[in-house]
């Protein structure tokens, strides 16, 4: 009753919608870096929202089905083969016991999501199956996948083979704009520094992971080195002493003392997390009202997209 891991790839993690309500004991959120691709994967499979899927960073995953079920792969574009035959992404595909599922390395974007019908059955830790390696919590053993792991899932024999038309599939470019709600610590950044931040492109450094993306570009000066440690919200953009911004993501620490110039929109961090080192980022300011509006518009846009069915 499982998919067996033959090759784990570079970083493949079991993730559900993320862990909430546990910040008081210091646990971070985890969950999918690209929420939209994750949600589409569950929706295509006819799963409940937030079912446990695999987040595959960079690719290189090889699985063997131990039973009949349906899978779907969304997110980063990567060659997908089932028993050596090329298959499409953003499309529900049947697999039979013994089938070999192979994902090559990502060609566009870097986070792909592989789901199964009804999701992987992983017992929750602190209310969620999300794997946070830094905390050694969630997933199968608080860690990324290893060869030989068995990913438990149900046998499913019927499921609509839905797909998302190509025109609606996201394009993961190498240059993006990230909308930012200017921060409440603005007074520590002069107008010149704020203008510098919003008018120059930044480059993704090689220090980018699930905790945060460290960017490189014109240094932003701040008139204080640190603040009294306080809670850090999702997307917060810290400016450490070297002036190079860090966009904090799902596995961020919950408390910190670096000044923050603002917080990025989750709709845009989904694209940021698809960038690899060298990717370019422009920041654009957005008001809290604008951010709220954008969030709801994006949600209703996705809800209105009709999924099509491919008849076998």
């Amino acid at each position: 009753m499982s998919l067996k891991v033959i090759q784990p790839g570079i970083l493949s993690l079991l993730q559900d919608g993320g862990r909430t309500g546990q910040h008081r004991i210091g646990l971070t959120n985890g969950g999918p870096l690209d929420r939209r691709a994750f949600d589409y994967c569950n929706r295509l499979l006819g799963n409940a929202k937030n079912c446990t899927l695999l987040e595959i960073s960079f690719g290189g995953l090889h699985l063997q089905a131990q039973e009949d079920t349906f899978i779907c792969i969304t997110g980063a574009k990567l060659p997908l083969h089932i028993n050596g035959k090329e298959q499409p992404q953003w499309q529900v595909l049947p697999v039979a016991a013994g089938d070999e599922i192979q994902l090559e390395f990502a060609e566009q974007g870097c986070r792909a999501y592989l789901g199964v019908a009804d999701g992987f059955t992983i017992p929750p830790s602190f209310g969620s199956s999300a794997t946070v390696m830094r905390e050694n919590i969630g997933g199968l053993h608080g860690d990324k996948l290893h060869a030989g792991d068995e990913l438990p899932c149900a046998t499913v024999t019927t499921r609509k083979q839905l797909y998302l038309p190509a025109a609606l599939q996201p394009h993961y470019g190498k240059e993006i704009t990230v909308r930012v709600i200017p921060g409440y610590q603005q007074k520590h950044f002069s107008r010149l520094q704020q203008r510098r931040f919003f008018s120059h492109p930044y480059t993704v450094s090689d220090r980018c992971d699930r905790m945060g993306y460290r960017l490189e570009g014109p240094a932003i000066a701040c008139d204080i080195e640190g603040i009294l440690s306080e809670g850090i919200c999702f997307g917060a953009i810290q400016i450490p002493a070297d002036g190079q911004p860090i966009v904090l993501l799902n596995d961020r620490q919950t408390i910190g003392g670096y000044p923050k110039i603002g917080a990025a929109l989750s709709l845009d961090t989904a694209h940021l997390a698809q960038l690899t080192p060298g990717g370019r980022v422009h920041f654009a300011p957005i008001s809290p009202h604008g951010a709220h509006n954008a969030l709801h518009l994006a949600h209703s846009f996705d809800q209105r997209q009709a999924l099509l069915e491919r008849r076998p």
Binding site: T20, R24, I181, Y184, L228, E230, C233, Q253, L295, H299
Partner: protein
């Protein structure tokens, strides 16, 4: 009191500007009041020294409604006494062998090792915040005489149970992790155990006292070998 939009799903509430038991008590009371006022719209709360980060569900409500309800709740709030909370005693094996920075901290402070131990274990600390890592409790404030800046080069690996000082804060490392605090001893108790109920012996607002113990007692209480 100040309220600010922090992100698409978060509001930051400041209840003071400095570390003090009075401000900490206000943070505690505000956390309770905000949780009641927001109900299901609340996703998470991060209390810290002088602030409370309020994370809400942006698909159910917005920053205007949250801000309004938080202001109303705070205007009716009764601040509890700064003395509320439990007192937890944590045993510590203080020694140069279990705390690699004990000797340098003492000599920099112009004190003997015994004086450092006496000062660290003399007063009652308050749990101001929990974060950085699961179960990492920020305790304050240590006697000014033994306050010490963070190490210039953080250690790659600080052992579980390490008792440490950074500026006027002190803490027990709940798990092996990198860290730049000055190590002065080891605590044999688990500060974070996912299988235990509760998972942590302390919570924000509790008091902590450190009790010096011998090497034998440390090992008898289940401390990791030093």
């Amino acid at each position: 009191m100040e309220l600010h939009s922090a992100g698409e799903d978060a509001i930051m509430l400041y209840l003071g500007e400095e570390t003090s038991p009075e401000v900490a008590a206000r943070v505690q009371s505000a956390a309770t009041a905000v949780a009641q006022a927001l109900g299901d719209d609340l996703i998470d709360l991060v209390p810290s020294y002088a602030s409370l980060l309020i994370i809400y569900d942006p698909m159910q409500t917005d920053h205007l409604s949250v801000g309004h309800r938080v202001r109303l709740a705070l205007s009716q709030m009764q601040t509890g006494a700064a003395g509320a909370g439990h007192t937890v005693v944590l045993p510590v094996y203080y020694s140069p062998e279990s705390g690699q920075d004990l000797e340098s901290l003492a000599s920099n402070a112009g004190l003997s090792i015994d004086e450092v131990i006496a000062l660290h274990s003399a007063c009652e600390y308050r749990v101001y915040a929990i974060g950085f890592a699961p179960g990492f409790a920020y305790l304050g404030e240590v006697d000014e005489r033994i306050a010490a800046p963070r190490l210039a080069t953080p250690r790659q690996k600080v052992p579980r149970g390490a008792v440490a000082i950074a500026d006027r804060q002190t803490a027990v490392y709940p798990a092996v992790s990198p860290g730049g605090w000055n190590l002065i001893g080891r605590c044999p108790l688990r500060m974070f155990d996912p299988t235990a109920e509760p998972t942590m012996p302390v919570t924000v607002g509790d008091r902590v006292r450190f009790e010096p113990i011998s090497r034998e007692r440390y090992l008898a209480l289940g401390g990791d070998p030093v």
